[in-house]
Amino acid sequence: MKHSTGSVQRLAVPVRAIAQRFAFFLLLAAAVGLMVVGKAETVLVERVRSGVMDVVAPVMDALSRPAATVANSVDHVGSLIDLYEENNRLREQNARLLHWQAAAQKLAEENAELRRTLGAVPDSVADQISARVIADNGGVFVRSVMVNAGKSDGVRKGSAAMTGLGLTGRVTSVGDRSARVLLITDLNSRIPVVVEGARARAILAGDNSEQPKLIFASHTSGVAVGNRVVTSGHGGVFPPGIPVGRVVASDAKGIRVQPFSELHRLDFLRILDYAGTRATALQAKGDTDG
């Protein structure tokens, strides 16, 4: 009896060592496997991601409010200090904008008249969903933010997200009450754009830096520093004409664009439901034509 328990004990220790080493390699393989599966972007991975997002969203919503309040208070104090200069600057800007408003009204009337004459299909106006940024990411490898609007608010995968200043990103993952927006500076972000002035079509490709670059440009001859870049609407996913940024460098190394949107200070985003409204608009036109 004693002999058999002794031999069982002598067997147990190396078995445990092997089991530990096995566990190490098992976890290592699991991590690598997860990376491969995650890269494949299967439906299951999508669902897990959006499921976790939905769980985390209410918590992040609550946690991010104090930080937002602090940031707003700091901004408020800052603006109080610059009150006098800010006032003068705003007066001048107001006067300029009133001139532009008059010009814009005239142009709008002319535009409407021309459209009527040509019988052109009207650009559909995108529905807007307002959402608050509740979580940022690690910042280093992925540039994305989480917002507190999801499927139940009408957000769809692929929708454009923008601030008042310009395009911010594209919705890549949608949960019930939350969604993830991939910023235009992210490595995997590709947006079809057009450079105003030069009328060059290109793709805005992020590379995790502050200034995404333009690739696959149809021509680079007219592109100069200071040109505005807007969405071209190619592919039908983003509405055309959304301001994206301004060209800040155009040389042998490539064309760099400084986004209008302040990507470090995102508070509220507008999510545009373009694909949905465009489909309805085309359907309506089809009904009236047919």
Binding site: V36, V45, L63, V145, S209
Partner: protein
């Protein structure tokens, strides 16, 4: 009988304290603070947590829990799935295999050790992401992230030490 159940519940809650600190700090690290320059160079608070508990209570935060925390970090931040699972798991393994080193050492030594472990972790994560994405990624933000993480290490470890003292003395 109720007293027995409550004490079991109490013990259960205490056992999971390290894991809860990890879950909570990963969420804290994802809060959007509006820092103007250099985008978001968030500290990797999860790495500090894994390092601390792997050094002082590896029985309460085993390798698989470190793996799980890494996975949690990936899911919360929307980063490449499995990246931090790998990094945290390897960091845990590296620290837990050197337990004797951490006994009775001053904080400065611990901090220095964390500097080494986190440097290796950041470097590895940078290389892995470049392999995954198939593109060269600027290393300067990674360097900043390492610096911020090291700077926050004393504060986070102080908090964790207080928690350990408060909840885990009897366990």
């Amino acid at each position: 009988m109720i007293a027995g159940a409550l004490s079991r519940l109490d013990r259960f809650a205490r056992l999971f304290t390290p894991l809860f600190t990890g879950i909570f700090l990963v969420l804290i690290a994802a809060i959007p603070f509006r820092i103007p320059e250099y985008g978001r160079i968030a500290a990797d608070l999860g790495l500090i947590v894994v390092f601390y508990w792997a050094a002082y209570r590896p029985d309460l935060l085993p390798a698989i829990a470190a793996f799980g925390l890494g996975l949690w970090q990936d899911l919360v931040t929307g980063g490449p799935l499995g990246l931090h699972a790998l990094i945290y798991f390897l960091a845990h393994w590296a620290v837990a295999s050197q337990l004797r080193f951490f006994q009775g050492k001053s904080f400065a030594v611990i901090w220095w050790a964390f500097g080494l472990v986190s440097a290796a972790a950041m470097l590895l994560s940078w290389l892995v992401v470049m392999m995954l994405e198939g593109a060269v990624i600027d290393g300067v933000p990674v360097l900043f992230r390492w610096a911020v993480t090291i700077a926050l290490c004393p504060f986070v470890t102080w908090i964790l030490a207080r928690l350990q003292h408060a909840f885990l003395r009897q366990i």
